[in-house]
Symmetry: C2
Subunit: 258 residues, 2 copies
DNA sequence: GCATCAATGTTCGCTTTGCGAACGCTGTCA
DNA sequence: TGACAGCGTTCGCAAAGCGAACATTGATGC
């Protein structure tokens, strides 16, 4: 019993159970007990109790020895989305701008050293992405959304957060040097937008602009498109669109209290 | 210690904590400890431990004495959405059909005596709804989605599920007699679609068709629109669109294992 | 302004829960 | 065929958390 974690106000069983649920946030569709235990860093018996409790509560389904999430977890997110009126204040704005820009527009924030997608426009003509949705995590260091988020942090913090994330090479042109990436972050902060090219998906350019007011928890909007014939013209058009979208979200105070 | 609930495989602390988290699924944006305790039917001290644990885990935020969900809960849903490839296999289909039909198209299933929205297309010109999103709950008895879901249950079960839900009158024309509602459910099962008018929102007609194959967990698709000049023509057009959408989802096996 | 009361947040002793070493089972390799 | 590695499950004992009791806050009456 170390001094610090001896907090009688925190329920450790509950915390461990939550870790079991959170383990499914990866793109692993279903897992065995042992796998859950390994990924959540818990004893197999502990993970088992957590998983069985989740099954009983209806958040997990058990098929033989495989466990997978049930749709009920959506209800947890639904609480958040309704409380913040995403359906009325955010989604329509994203959709409208996406329509005009002819790409998908994504709203995102920082979460545990990764980019958490908060909302995504739903348009027909968007280029085929990986199929990310609200609630998906994408890398911080090699996406324009991620770098723009880092740029939104108080001056000193960006380096710290970046240092704690690992830097897998997604493509051949992914930057690997932390210092170089930080340079791009600083550049993004100064110019008020961020561009990346082929660092996450080959041939795809990413665009991002800040949405939250300076000093607040960083929220950004972004989009991506295949690199076309006139990169500069595309960039200007898409960034202008994103800026308009961001301004409208700010004015609606849609993201002020996240 | 009663005999039944003495299951050493279930972690009661965890189950109680989950109940705290689930309490936020209502449209209550933020609550005090006492309110959480009341709504989750727990002792205040118990609710407090659960809430503080959720705060530490980053799922709840504490502003003074008010507690509210953080965006991190989206990540839990994200795991489900990515595991089932909603972004690639469901959302594009809904969007395309919604565009052609010029309405929102919603995918839904049963959850705890209510309709759980699984996914929703959004088009620009759709009529303004309550702002529901994926993860939202809507009533079972007075929506076409809900009645179509009841129709998808094995013959005897519909009545049982319906009996356990309460029937608030949303509008003046909401049906209140369980027997009459059940009649409509049977009718929906026989004709393969469901229509409701002004029972949930005044002046709005709801349309729904089944998506899942018979015998499976019921999944339905639906849409709604203001009652127009030619109700029959509208109904025919929208139902045809929904049927096409449902057929495509079935063919893509997008919802077979929910 | 002070006393009263109701409702909320917090503490701590006693009991219960759930931790994890140990077990048995199943499939795999030499 | 025997050894082994990995899995799910059990059970005695330590510690985690339940809830009665205690503070604390704030509204209401006089």
């Amino acid at each position: 019993m170390t001094a610090a974690d001896q907090d009688r106000n925190i329920s450790s069983s509950f915390a461990k159970g939550l870790a079991v649920l959170a383990v499914f946030d990866a793109e692993t569709p279903s897992m065995t007990l042992a796998e859950i235990a390994r990924r959540s860093g818990q004893d197999r018996a502990t993970a088992r109790r957590g998983a069985l409790t989740l099954v009983q509560a209806g958040y997990l389904r058990q098929d033989g020895r495989m466990l997978s999430l049930t749709p009920r977890v959506l209800a947890l997110a639904g609480g958040f989305l309704q409380a913040n009126q995403f359906g009325r204040r955010v989604q329509p704005v994203l959709n409208r701008h996406a329509r005009q820009m002819e790409t998908e527009v994504t709203l995102a924030m920082l979460d545990q050293g990764r980019v958490l997608l908060l909302a995504q426009s739903t348009v027909e003509h968007g280029h085929i992405t990986y199929g990310f949705t609200a609630g998906s995590h994408i890398p911080l260091a090699h996406t324009s959304l991620g770098r723009m988020l880092l740029a939104g942090l108080p001056e000193g913090q960006s380096a710290g957060v970046l240092a704690e994330t690992d830097l897998p090479r997604h493509t051949e042109t992914s930057l690997t040097d932390t210092a170089v990436i930080l340079e791009r972050v600083v550049q993004a902060r100064e110019q008020g937008y961020c561009l990346t090219d082929s660092e996450f998906e080959s041939g795809i350019t990413g665009y991002a602009v800040p949405v939250s007011r300076p000093g607040r928890t960083p929220i950004v909007a972004g989009c991506s498109a295949p690199r076309g014939q006139q990169p500069e013209a595309d960039a200007e058009r898409l960034l202008r669109g994103l800026q308009l979208c961001a301004a409208e979200l700010r004015q609606a105070e849609a993201v002020d209290h996240l």
